[in-house]
Amino acid sequence: MQLKRYLDLYALLQQDRSSREERRTFGLSEAVRGKDAAEQLRAWTEAHQTSLPRPLLSEQVESVLYHATLLLGIVAFLLGIVTAAGLLNYSGKEPVNLVYFLAVAVLLPLVTMVLALIAMFRANRARNFLVHISPAYWMTRIIGFFDRKGSMKFNTVPLNPLILNWVIIRRSQLLALLFAIGMLLTLLGVVATRDIAFAWSTTLQIDAAQFHAFIEALAFPWRGWLPSAVPSLALVEQSHYFRLGGKLSETMVSHAAMLGAWWKFLAMATFVYAVLLRFGMYMLAGWGLSRAIRRSMPAIDGADVLLRDMNEPLITTHPDEKNLSSNTLQESLYTRTDAKLMPSYDAVVGWAIPEETLVSLCDAFSVTASECREAGGNRTLEEDSHTLETLRGTVLLFVKAWEPPTMDFADFLEAVSKRVSKVIVVPVGTPKEGYAADARHKAVWERKLALLDYPNVWMLR
């Protein structure tokens, strides 16, 4: 998994406006079905990459990293050349001590590779000393320092410590590899252009046989198929050099041509330990980085929700399009209201109120009337027409406050209002409420009457 995919996913989730429907549709597509989280996210990123603004964040970050790595890589390569040239510097008076060269070409890489392995095991930690001593770490710090204005987008990059550590580890391996290649090429170049006498010298009490055993052990990877690159015991004995006396032994001088034979061993040692193993470490770091990216992708803010949306069944209970069925009625205040009732009326009508209840209502409201009639309810329309014919003068119309006015009522009210001089609508509560209507229910009636707006219809507040 590439860093580019991680950064593109981050950028996509930052600006993502996709609906759950779109995400689930994608989740059901062949591209992602049955795949793991990282693969699903990768597929999502690839499919939606075109919606990202250009230049891509990933391109900007990778460009900065590439140029910084290129610069440091050139420096490392040159440093490898300079180091090797220094170690192979042969004045002609003294042979080149190959122990120095082995220390830099074999020991140093082995030590740094062990440290790199430890750093890999501890890559999950935010504060990783072994990572922080790497030049690649300082490279990112330097980039960050110069990018204070954010033009390179580096400081805004949301890399978690796991990924950042692996980026640094991988780039450190690359720099070390280039350093080793610089050393190897210099060794080959110097050997081809100059006559160098190699010798080994150490203060430690090591005799030629012991040193030969050490050399044999080092040459283990190639001694089977390239024996000419494994120095013999005779060569080791002849190239043992003591500084004491300040001049070369006569035996050494007489075998000067043989001393140059060390170069094959040194070249193979550099190639195997500094180049080949380092290349292996570089590949391992690449694998580790890819794994870290795979692990970190679902942890990007918003990725967990995206994954759930893709993988969980989409259950909707809403209409596809929001229906605009709401009828916004104006909050009208009905102006034709009476505060109290008169003691008598020409007629009292109960809308869907039985006559016996109507009698109780008249008692409760202390009103009398020459006519007491029921309308609506389960009465037929013909029966209502008969009732209408009996009405005249001022009519008191009791209605159940809790039953909202229907158009059936509106039709009746219109007919009554055309026949009589005044209609007073009185919303009443239930017997349990003592017939006192709830203010909420009254308001409903008030709004309806305002909407109907019959000129001789009044309401009891």
């Binding site: 999950n124 978690n160 989409l314 809403h318 069925s325 709401s326 609506g376 309810g377 037929t380 809790w402």
Partner: protein, 467 residues
Amino acid sequence: MNHTDYPRFAVVGHPNKGKSSIVASLAMDDAIAISDTPGTTTRKARYPLKVDGETLYELIDTPGFQRARQVLAWLREHETDASRRHEVVREFVNIHKGDARFHDEIELLEPIMEGAGIIYVVDGSKPYGEEYEAEMEILRWTGQPSMALINRIDEEDYTEDWKRALGGYFQMIRTYDPMHATLSQHLKILESMAQLREEWTPQVKASIALFERYHAMMRERSAAAIAKLLYRALSHVERLALKEGEAVEDAKKRIASRYKQHLRSFEVETQKRIEYIWNHQHLKKQQEQMRLEGLDLFSKESASVFGLTRKELLVTGASSGAVTGAGIDLAFAGHTFFAGGIIGAVVGGVGAYMAFNELADIKVLGRKIGRRTLQMGPMQNRNFPYILLGRILFHTTTVAQLSHAVRHSVNFEMDEHFRERWLTDTRRKKLEKYHKQFRQAKRIDENVLAEYEALVLEILDTLLGEG
């Protein structure tokens, strides 16, 4: 659209008896227009239950009957044979399709004549009246399977009267309060709907299983959001560059304010996410800014309602410190005579006790290189995670249990005993283990966050009565 593929249910009734509330509750949709003004619903609206685009059943919200007696009079006038009544109703619908007088009746009868089952809604808190007979008779004439739902809008109870009246007209009668219905009550209504017609049973039963899964998904998503909030808030580090000539003390106040503001915004973001998860995007709150009835995240009241007491904090700190100390003892194979555990407990306990009101350390960085920056965080206060967790759990349970039919402002009234419902000693110990890791502001392994999420889900299940 082929109208025979899945069951459909038309929710019908007298105006203003809670039809839309019932639909909002059963469809879990808080966007449906509900009002106490009759005639709010002027057109039928379809609410299909879809799984990955496939409809399992459909609810149809309809306007109320307006001229039921006139419709019934027409039907009776055109009746020829009792066995052909549904054809007379169909004829009425066909003839009056463009007739403005019967607009609402056509809107509600049309889906029924296309095969929808009838869910007839009445208000059980108001007495039965004769005016309902006409509309019930019309529905009987349609010949479609029917169920009556008694919805008690107010306190009074006339349910028994209604049951007697409805018994003659409908196959089954159920009571349902859309404002307070729980998931199990919701599912019971679906069970009843499944029984209305044999062919509908498999699909409606499948939708019951689906609703249970849907509810579980919402709980899981909420737990994930809550876990992320806690991790984000506890590990948050605020940085602030000092202005030219600015006194450190002034800058400290500035960074503390910004730090708190960020934490508040994390909480609000999560609250909105929870509301989205539970389909309550249209939720009106009494206090939009502060939420939770004006109880600020950093207020003393918040700490006293949701946080730990000093004693609990002492125990939590001590047990957490003891665990660390015990690790040292273990490393030395007990040769420390368990001093590590004891010292750890004392240090942890005293530390937690003393830092009761402290939030996080403020450090001045870069003093030597000239570019001074203040840093605040991660959270050091051991009480804060419990306050934040308590608040978000309270919000989540309130939202999760809130009916989708509610349209008035929701007052998140404080329940002082809320903490007792979920914070047991065992849970506190488990939570503290994770809070400690979050407070270290290190990268947390996904598995750790998943474990914490599972713990939050368990708490949520307890609070929602699913555990």
